[in-house]
Symmetry: C2
Subunit: 194 residues, 2 copies
């Protein structure tokens, strides 16, 4: 692993934890056991380093869901598997998820375009195809967004939801959440087409 890769790998974690202004070049240098000057050899400035870090973090997420789309089964089963995979990624790669949250907070238009038209485009389209199969007469964009929204929310708001009355331990189990979301959506589709 090259120094540059080592820097980027550490930067994903640290930017995710502390944010752009919360992480200093000195702290990053310490974490990768290099001098600050060495980092500046690989990246022109802090902002360029951040951008490359985000790109690096999002690069390998394209093909995570390939097994879902290639799998055999009904559309209902595929939706269930997609939601499961989505929750899995968010739980098992919290740094990626936090970087994503920070990107949405900043909502820089150029970077949104990069993410929307580049990184996540294929996945969103495949998801739209899937919901079109399940609910042909509804707005696919809205429904695909709803799938993502429900999944993201249950992960992101777990720390808060825990503190509301009615919370149960199973509410933080991915499989349980996935089942709830899938059932909610499939029931909705059923009613609409009936």
């Amino acid at each position: 692993m090259s120094s540059k890769e080592k820097i980027l790998t550490a930067a994903i974690i640290l930017f995710a934890q502390k944010g752009y202004s919360g992480l200093s070049m000195r702290q990053l240098a310490l974490a990768v056991d290099l001098s600050v000057a060495a980092i500046y050899h690989h990246f022109p400035d802090k902002n360029a380093l951040y951008l490359e870090t985000v790109r690096y973090a999002f690069a390998d997420k394209e093909q995570v869901f390939d097994q879902v789309w290639q799998s055999k089964g009904s559309a209902e089963e595929k939706l269930s598997r997609f939601i499961h995979s989505l929750l899995d990624v968010m739980i098992n790669d919290p740094n990626f998820h936090r970087l994503m949250q920070r990107e949405m907070l900043e909502a820089n238009p150029e970077r949104m375009q990069l993410l929307g038209q580049g990184v996540f485009n294929t996945q969103f389209c495949l998801l739209m195809e899937l919901v079109k199969e399940l609910a042909p007469d509804q707005d696919a964009h809205l429904l695909a967004s709803s799938v993502l929204g429900l999944s993201k929310y249950f992960i992101e708001y777990q720390p808060l939801l825990k503190n509301f009355p009615g919370w149960k331990p199973e509410h933080e189990m991915p499989a349980f959440i996935a089942t709830h979301i899938t059932t909610l959506l499939l029931n909705s589709f059923k009613a609409k087409t009936a």
Copy 2:
């Protein structure tokens, strides 16, 4: 308006925009036309100022939805009105919304407890009561969370969702989103009880 209130009011906006480490005491002082030392007269340190800012921002949100709960109408109508109000608050008070996002990113357990058991408790309970009416045999906590999750996501991810194929201008109209969410949920309830 006292100096302290002026500081807190400005701090809500600036912390929401720039985050904790992104806002310096100098910048805040400049914004309220006071010296840095004057701010330190009112708050022991930056962290205490931040905490008080969050509390101040969340203080008056308790009774925003009172008109919804006091209104006459069926449970279906109330759900629709609640979702409308929720979207309205998030769109019309973006600073509050961004502060909330930042709080969820940090997810400090103590502050989550404060928010969950204090500020938002009543609203969440009332929402649970409402969904219990609509779907008595389902998990009210999960359903209430789903209402909040769908609403939050469509606001928060608008900058990204715009860049996916299939997006239409009406997808960022609160009334349109509210209708979609309400229909989705009510359809789901219908299917389940059928």
